[in-house]
């Protein structure tokens, strides 16, 4: 058994886990973050994707002990209370989910990508499709998810332009 500490969505957690316990099981069953779902447990479907120290990671392929000292973000940490994030809202607007089982994984994948890519970069439809191809969805045919990615990227880019202008005015 191993004693570890980590932060999940900004909350500090300390717990003792078996070496073989996956990060996904630890998040879901030891810490109660059941928004992270398990679709294959061998790293293909991506339903369990969380953001681990800024990078999207398959929580089924990471052991809990490997997250010792890490900063983890799960789907529960995306919204501000009941206020959906822009990406979550875009998923709703573009009918990017049906059964919703794969949705948390997609949200975390896309959130990590958009943050990493920087908001100043234009995302092409092809790039968005390539990104979405990281995970599996069996309900939607992906079109709505791709549209939600593009809409969010575009809105954030616009937001950046506004921020830059505002900053320029201030100086």
């Amino acid at each position: 058994m191993h004693h570890i500490t980590l932060r999940v969505n900004g909350h500090h957690h300390e717990l003792t886990v078996e070496a073989r316990r996956t990060l996904a099981d630890m998040l879901r069953h030891d810490l109660g973050y059941t928004g992270t779902h398990l679709g294959c447990e061998h790293g293909i479907c991506g339903a369990c994707t969380v953001i681990l120290d800024g990078q999207p990671a398959r929580a089924c392929l990471v052991f809990g002990v490997q997250a010792d000292g890490a900063e983890v973000r799960t789907v529960e940490g995306l919204a501000n209370g009941d206020q959906l994030s822009d990406l979550q809202q875009a998923f709703s607007d573009h009918h990017a989910l049906q059964c919703g089982f794969c949705t948390p994984g997609f949200l975390m994948l896309i959130e990590a990508y958009l943050a990493e890519a920087g908001r100043d970069r234009t995302l092409s439809a092809e790039q968005a499709r390539g990104l979405v191809a990281s995970n599996l969805c069996r309900c939607t045919g992906y079109q709505g998810i791709v549209e939600a990615v593009l809409a969010t990227a575009q809105a954030r880019q616009g937001q950046d332009a506004t921020d830059t202008r505002d900053a320029g005015d201030a100086t």
């Binding site: 928004g35 009918h95 069996r138 045919g141």
Partner: protein, 765 residues
């Protein structure tokens, strides 16, 4: 759901929760000897190891009341024989899922392997091993559904006879959430409560009751959020009954969440079929007769409650589809093999029958040197033909078969697909365009379902609509949505009739203690049947509201309108009362009302329609790289008609998701076994479902021919995408290959098939 607050079965937890893990057969076919459980019982955390004997040999029995049907009881845990790799023989119950899995390794089983049957051809060969003693030739059902004395003459005199064999691979429905359940004994209510990822809560209750010999009232089945089903979860799984039995035995909560390997090997498959078909055509390309031998590889057992006949019956009954076939013979068989049982996966035989009919049209057109779309037009049931009763005794209600094809062709031209195809061809690619015309029989009620003669005949559904004292509404139904947006669509149907906002309507489904006996969500039935029942019940409540409003406003009920939360009197702008005020009065001041208007605002209604046909025409364009033989879906268009569209976003979502599954069946997906019956597609690295990279945008154009057989004018449409896509994609592949003289009659068409065929074609030239 977006906030991560969904509640799926595996998210549930209970104090003292136990975990089940199954000991499964490593052989496709074997006698089961002694089972040694001592070592497992001594392992850390293990509470029990249950076997067929310790559970008293429970089983699920799906029955068809037909002489040609051979019942094959499916034991909850195998007793003396295992009939497919992955069949469960024991279940370990432990305090932790990891420990439960550790302990299944410690259960010792004396296996005595038997020769396995892994294909239709092997199963029907003389001297083939028999899966079930009672099933001659491994035939679990063998039905001559239609015959016609004129066939011999028609074929003898036919200008053209097209004969071909069409096959489709075994596929997995693969919902992202596998099967899962949590069963617990409620000491206070003396009731077994089963939380389960299912499309059919009431049938789960019936199955558990029959297998464990309990009255149905003593079981409560609750489907929380369900992460996709596609037919995999419209049947009852033995593991789910085993978990219920364990909870009943141990009087402790027990859960099980299938892993993906179990899901791919030991859950249910579908769509493995072979069609040997002859079709006679005249010189104009009109079909004169159709003769089909249909064989479905339905695996080792009949599934509960549908039976193994669901695929062959559907195929043999509906093969003529949207075409006018004057003479017809069809024989449908379900063949037992040493593979996991087949469940009714999305589309159920119709992806195959559409593929067969479209290929026949294309083959006839090629032989007669006619345009394949013109051949289709000559055979399509036309606008003047409705209602059309076919040679298969089915009556097709109004649709837009010809209009859909005309519009699809026009849209394809408008989008310049042919020009793009030609350009791609000039650039050395193989490119092609394919079409499929089809209808989708939806919302079968008992008038239609009873023809199958199932012991448990599904079809009707019942809704209860209740308005609470604040004027808000709760609807319960026996349908059980799992991603189809029923919460939205049903709320719209009910809100429209009650004059309230859809946000004020809450749908409660998936709980057998709340809802009247119902048949769940499958077969594109929910919006028509469940929604129809909800609409009827809402009408009754609306009528109550109008009478109360009329009483309070001193008007006639016929003059009351319910709109935007208010009851108004037609022609009297001043007379109005809030619907919430009516609700408050009925509940809290009921003594002020005449006796027949008192005591609550609620109504129950049932709907049991004969069924209604939606229809569509799909067009697909594929591009094939002649170097790698990679086949890429390049463009996709759907012209669809599901009658009145209640929620366009939901409908389009169903179409796109369905097309994706259908296209994948034509391009990627197949469950494979080695010659001994070992499954070799056991991970998502071997069983390929499409990612976004394999799909293209899917354009959708709507036609609307309202149904006379539904309350709202809507027709079901949950499966159409999956039904039409394989034929359109295969047609596009064959069009792309037309210049090199290669064509295929099977799905999926894989790069290795293409490579081999192109080599052969090259060698021949």
């Amino acid at each position: 759901m977006l906030l991560g607050r969904g509640r799926f079965t595996a998210d549930l937890t209970r104090p003292g929760l136990l975990h089940a893990a199954f000991v499964r057969s490593p052989y496709a076919h074997a006698r089961v000897g002694a089972l040694g459980t001592d070592a497992a019982l001594k392992a850390d955390g293990v509470v029990a190891v249950l076997t067929a004997a310790s559970l008293g040999h429970p089983y699920l029995l799906a029955m068809l009341e037909r002489e040609e049907f051979v019942p094959t009881p499916m034991p909850i845990l195998a007793r003396e024989t295992v009939r497919f790799t992955g069949e469960p023989v024991a279940v370990v119950i432990a305090d932790d899922p990891y420990r439960a899995e550790d302990a299944i390794e410690l259960v010792e089983v004396d296996w005595d392997p038997l020769p396995a049957v892994t294909s239709i051809e092997q199963a029907e060969a003389p001297g083939a091993p028999r899966l079930h003693e009672q099933a001659d030739g491994n035939r679990m059902v063998d039905l001559l559904m239609f015959d016609d004395d004129r066939l011999a003459v028609i074929f003898a005199e036919a200008l053209l006879t097209v004969a071909a064999t069409f096959t489709s691979a075994r596929v997995a429905a693969l919902p992202l959430e596998g099967r899962a359940c949590l069963a617990e004994w409620d000491h206070r209510d003396d009731q077994l409560v089963v939380h389960i990822s299912t499309q059919v809560p009431h049938q789960v209750r019936s199955g558990i009751a029959q297998a464990l010999d309990l009255p149905e009232r003593q079981i409560r089945v609750i489907a929380p959020d369900v992460g996709g089903g596609f037919g995999l979860k419209c049947v009852v799984g033995r593991e789910e009954v085993a978990v219920a039995a364990a909870a009943l035995r141990l009087r402790r909560p027990v859960c099980w969440a299938e892993d993906r390997q179990e899901n791919l090997t030991a859950a249910f498959h579908g769509h493995e079929q072979r069609y040997r078909v002859r079709a006679a055509f005249d010189a104009e390309g009109r079909i004169r007769a159709l003769d089909a031998e249909i064989d479905c590889d339905t695996g080792a057992y009949s599934v509960f409650p549908f039976t193994c006949a669901v695929e062959p019956l559907m195929a043999a009954t509906e093969l003529p589809g949207v075409y006018k076939v004057p003479a017809y013979r069809a024989r449908g068989r379900a063949i037992a093999t040493n593979k996991a049982p087949a469940a009714p996966y999305r589309g159920v035989s119709r992806p195959q029958i559409v593929l067969v009919m479209e290929r026949l049209m294309e083959k006839a057109a090629a032989a007669l040197d006619l345009d394949p779309l013109h051949v289709r037009r000559r055979n399509l049931i036309g606008p003047a033909d409705f209602p059309y009763t076919g040679v298969n005794k089915i009556t097709y209600d109004e649709g837009s078969y010809r209009e859909a094809l005309d519009l699809a062709e026009e849209q394809v031209r408008k989008r310049a697909w042919p020009a793009e195809r030609d350009l791609l061809r000039e650039n050395g690619q193989l490119a092609g365009i394919g079409y499929s015309c089809f209808s989708e029989r939806t919302a079968y009620g008992t008038p239609t379902m009873s023809q199958r003669r199932m012991r448990m005949t599904p079809g009707y559904d019942t809704a209860l609509v209740r308005m609470d004292p604040t004027g808000e509404v709760i609807v319960t139904t026996g349908t059980c949505g799992h991603g189809q947006g029923h919460e939205t669509t049903f709320a719209q149907i009910v809100a429209d009739r009650l004059g309230v906002h859809p946000d004020q309507v809450r749908l409660r489904q998936g709980d057998t203690d709340l809802a009247s006996y119902g048949w769940g969500t499958w077969g594109s039935r929910s919006v028509v049947i469940g929604g129809g029942a909800a609409g009827r019940a809402a009408d009754l409540v609306a009528s109550q509201l109008k009478r109360v409003a009329a009483e309070l406003l001193e008007a006639r009920p016929a003059d009351v309108e319910l709109t935007e939360g208010t009851a108004r009197i037609r022609g009297d702008a001043a007379a109005a009362i809030a619907i919430s005020e009516l609700a408050r009065t009925v509940h809290f001041q009921t003594h002020r009302l005449p006796e027949d208007l008192r005591y609550g605002l609620e109504a129950r209604a049932t709907f049991d329609p004969p069924g209604t046909f939606s229809n569509a025409c799909h067009a697909a364009m594929v591009v094939i790289d002649p170097g790698t033989c990679a086949i890429r879906l390049h463009r996709y268009l759907v012209v669809e008609d599901c009658g009145v569209v209640i929620n366009p976003m939901v409908v389009d979502g169903q179409v796109r998701g369905g097309v994706t599954q259908g296209a994948a069946a034509a391009l990627l997906e197949r469950v494979c076994f080695d010659p001994d019956g070992q499954p070799v597609t056991t991970t998502l690295m071997d069983y390929l479902v499409p990612t976004a990279a394999e799909m293209c945008d899917i354009d959708i154009v709507h036609l609307q021919t309202p149904s006379r057989f539904s309350e709202t004018g809507a027709k079901g449409m949950g499966e159409g995408g999956t039904i039409g896509a394989p034929a359109a994609v295969l047609g596009a592949i064959n069009d792309a290959l037309s210049e090199v003289g290669v064509s295929f009659d099977h799905i999926p068409v894989l790069p290795q098939d293409l490579s081999a065929a192109l080599s052969r074609a090259g060698a021949a030239q």
